[in-house]
């Protein structure tokens, strides 16, 4: 696994980093039994409130809670300042890019991005060509996964531009921490994240179609209570004060979307949809889907409803496009990217493929369209047979893969069993793009790999979450 990873609390050695002073002394002064009790209380709170997620294909544990770690992950205001500037820059570029590929296609004509990477991308939606969106915003809500390997730089691991999830955990983790450790909060002066729902609603409203009469009506579209993220959908609808609708609650008439209410049909102007493109409208996409709304795309194209996120944003968040993100930032903004990309080999390029095949035991290889930790090879952890299998897949379809070095994700102190131990973490801040500005609440979802040495932080792979604190820089 290489040298010991950078630790958020102890840095490269045993010296406590300034942001962690309070946490370190708290951990030293608090008995493990007390922490254990609080940890159990936290789990009880999550269970009682019903903060659960469903695991597909796991009938036994139909509803699980995501393990929650009571030791917060801390960043200073200065670190956050850099990070949020970088996030704003990156998401602004993402939106410009999407408006361009569904519009004039200048980046392709300039030769910055290979044409076929766009046109032949399975997430590219030709239905979106020439559709004009309010303020040209495609990705109203982005979840950008970042990691760090030292105290200087943040790296973007993944841009989630479709329907990123996890923001309810950011908010619930904070709630639960405040219930469990009020004293700690009194001392730490932590920037609040509680206003996220207000910011989200302001963002969505700012992007209502011009044809919306008066105060726009916003609704959240969920696939239903069997979806793994249903808890989050209902939580957000509740906090935003908007209706949580399913496809069957909506219908389209004369290219306008309505919901069925006890008072008759009511027009809907903005839909925060948590359904994938494929299921949105059986008339345009998958005809076998009962989740969506027949005619929704026609209303969308007519400019009578705003979808957040827009249709076809997946073209920007696959892993092949990821490798071009620094170029995309430079092309549209004329600036150097503030956040780095993890060095990545595009297997579609013959030289890279050769290198990757020669170095498989050192690399992480991912499917371009994969997500949730599925369909990937973690070279250093793989057996010879797994590597050979994967090599065959790679040779058969090199376009479908990218490879990265195994990064030493930073670690953060985590309560495991009877004590505190370092575990690898990443961070997903949520970036909101409205017609007026970009909004980011200071924080995000820190995910933690609970197994010792594991680098996989996904909840579907047994990862947990932590509260994320942005604190004032120590004087």
């Amino acid at each position: 696994m290489g040298p010991a990873a950078f630790d958020e609390m102890n840095g490269d050695g045993t010296l406590c980093r300034p942001a962690y002073g309070l946490i370190k002394s708290w951990l030293e002064q608090t008995a493990p039994e007390y922490l254990k009790r609080r940890q159990e209380e936290a789990e009880f709170l999550f269970r009682r409130v019903g903060i659960t997620f469903a695991v597909y294909g796991d009938a036994e544990a139909e509803e699980r809670i995501i393990p929650f770690d009571i030791v917060p992950r801390v960043l200073t205001s200065t670190e956050w300042g850099t990070l949020s500037k970088g996030l704003t820059q990156r998401v602004t570029a993402l939106n410009r890019f999407l408006a361009d590929v569904y519009g004039k296609g200048e980046i392709i004509r300039a030769g910055v991005i290979p044409e076929d990477l766009v046109w032949r991308n399975p997430s590219f939606r030709p239905e979106m060509i020439g559709v004009k969106l309010p303020s040209d915003i495609y990705v109203q809500i982005a979840g950008i996964d970042v990691i760090r390997t030292d105290d200087k730089d943040f790296y973007v691991l993944e841009d989630n531009a479709r329907t990123p999830s996890g923001v309810s955990y950011m908010l619930e983790n904070r709630d639960v921490m405040m219930r469990l450790f009020p004293d700690l909060f009194a001392e730490a002066r932590i920037h609040p994240v509680e206003n996220y729902p207000d910011e989200l609603l302001a963002t969505l409203r700012s992007l209502a179609p011009a044809s919306a009469p008066g105060e726009p009506t916003v609704a959240l579209l969920t696939p239903g209570s069997f979806n793994s993220a249903y808890y989050e959908h209902s939580f957000l609808a509740d906090r935003l004060g908007i209706e949580l609708v399913e496809g069957r609650d909506l219908f389209v008439k004369d290219a306008v979307v309505y919901m069925r209410t006890t008072e008759g049909p009511k027009r809907v102007d903005v839909i925060y949809r948590r359904i994938d493109d494929d299921f949105l409208d059986p008339l345009v996409f998958r005809p076998d889907s009962a989740l969506g709304v027949p005619g929704l795309v026609s209303a969308y194209r007519a400019g009578n409803v705003t979808l957040a996120n827009a249709i076809g944003t997946g073209v920007a968040d696959d892993k092949a496009m990821y490798t071009y993100m620094p170029d995309i930032v430079r092309f549209y903004l004329g600036e150097e990217p503030i956040l780095k990309n993890v060095p990545t080999w595009r297997c579609r390029e013959p030289d890279s493929l050769k290198y990757v095949l020669d170095h498989l035991p050192e690399l992480v290889v991912k499917e371009v369209q994969g997500s949730g930790g599925y369909g990937m090879l973690v070279g250093p952890k793989a057996t010879r047979a797994q590597i050979d299998d994967f090599a065959a897949k790679l040779r058969a379809d090199p376009d479908n893969f990218i490879a990265q070095p195994t990064l030493a994700l930073s670690t953060s102190p985590t309560f495991v069993g009877e004590g505190i131990a370092p575990r690898h973490v990443d961070l997903r801040p949520f970036v909101l793009s409205g017609s007026d500005k970009v909004r980011i609440v200071p924080g995000g979802l820190t995910r933690v790999a609970l197994k010792e040495g594991s680098l996989v932080v996904n909840s579907s792979q047994g990862g947990g979450t932590k509260d994320t604190w942005i604190v004032e820089d120590p004087a």
């Binding site: 009682r48 209570s225 209902s234 609650d249 209410t261």
Partner: protein, 314 residues
Amino acid sequence: MLSRHADNLYWLARYVERAENTARLIEAATRLSAMPVAHRDGRNEWEMALDATGTTVAFKGAGNGEATQRSVIDFLAFSPDNPSSIRSCLDVARANARSVRTALTMDMWETINSGWLESKKVVPASLGRQQLSDHLSGIKEVSLRFDGSAYRTMLRNDAYYFLRLGTYMERADFTARILAVKADVLDPDRPSPGGGFDYYQWSWILRSVSALTSYHWVYRENLKPHLVAEFLILKEEMPRSLVSCYDNITRFLDALSRDYGRQGVSQRRARQILGRLQDADLAGVFRAGLADFLSDFVGENAGLGSAIAEQYLT
């Protein structure tokens, strides 16, 4: 609000109410079955409990054999094959609550969710008398807490009105069914088999709707069968009586029509039913036949349910 949400709220309340009613019914039947054999007549209280919940056919269909204490309690409290069993009621209530979480307050959701989690832990096969009694108390408590938290924490808007409508529709149905099962013993002209058994049958009826003490407050005399009927059908001060349920149903339907600025067939129907109940007197009811009166009522109540569904819930 969304029609689907209104529908979920309405049925959520009905199922919570049904779970509580069924728990009370099992308690009352258990008490009656503890009577010495000499005090009983032909039908056993477990068959009556099935009748009162309208599940006799389903019980037989599921091949449960004879209606015994064990088999009926299993069926009414735990059976997944019985959509009205307490367990099924809680499952549906919880699923409905989950899909309308946005319309519930935190107190209401936590009550349903933790009640559901608790009841999942109960293993019917290993249930002793005491545990059963605890379980039934737990169920009643879920319903009471749910009702109370709705009363104390919900905004008074359409979500609240649909929830309340569900409660009173279910309650009216249950009261009428309980009375119908014992319609024959309530008839003042019926020759009494004598002894203490009548007393226990009437008290069984009142107990199953938790109204024994109230009866004494209102009438200040011993249990008289025709007064039990009057109490549960015509007395406005008795919150489980048919007339009181309809007083509420009418009130909440009117609140909806006021908020929405229009009324329809459910308002008219509810008012008709309420008017008939208010105009009725006990002598008239018995002259026409109590059993017929009650079965007509159950039918009309169901008809109003369809009208509400048509007007608001689809």
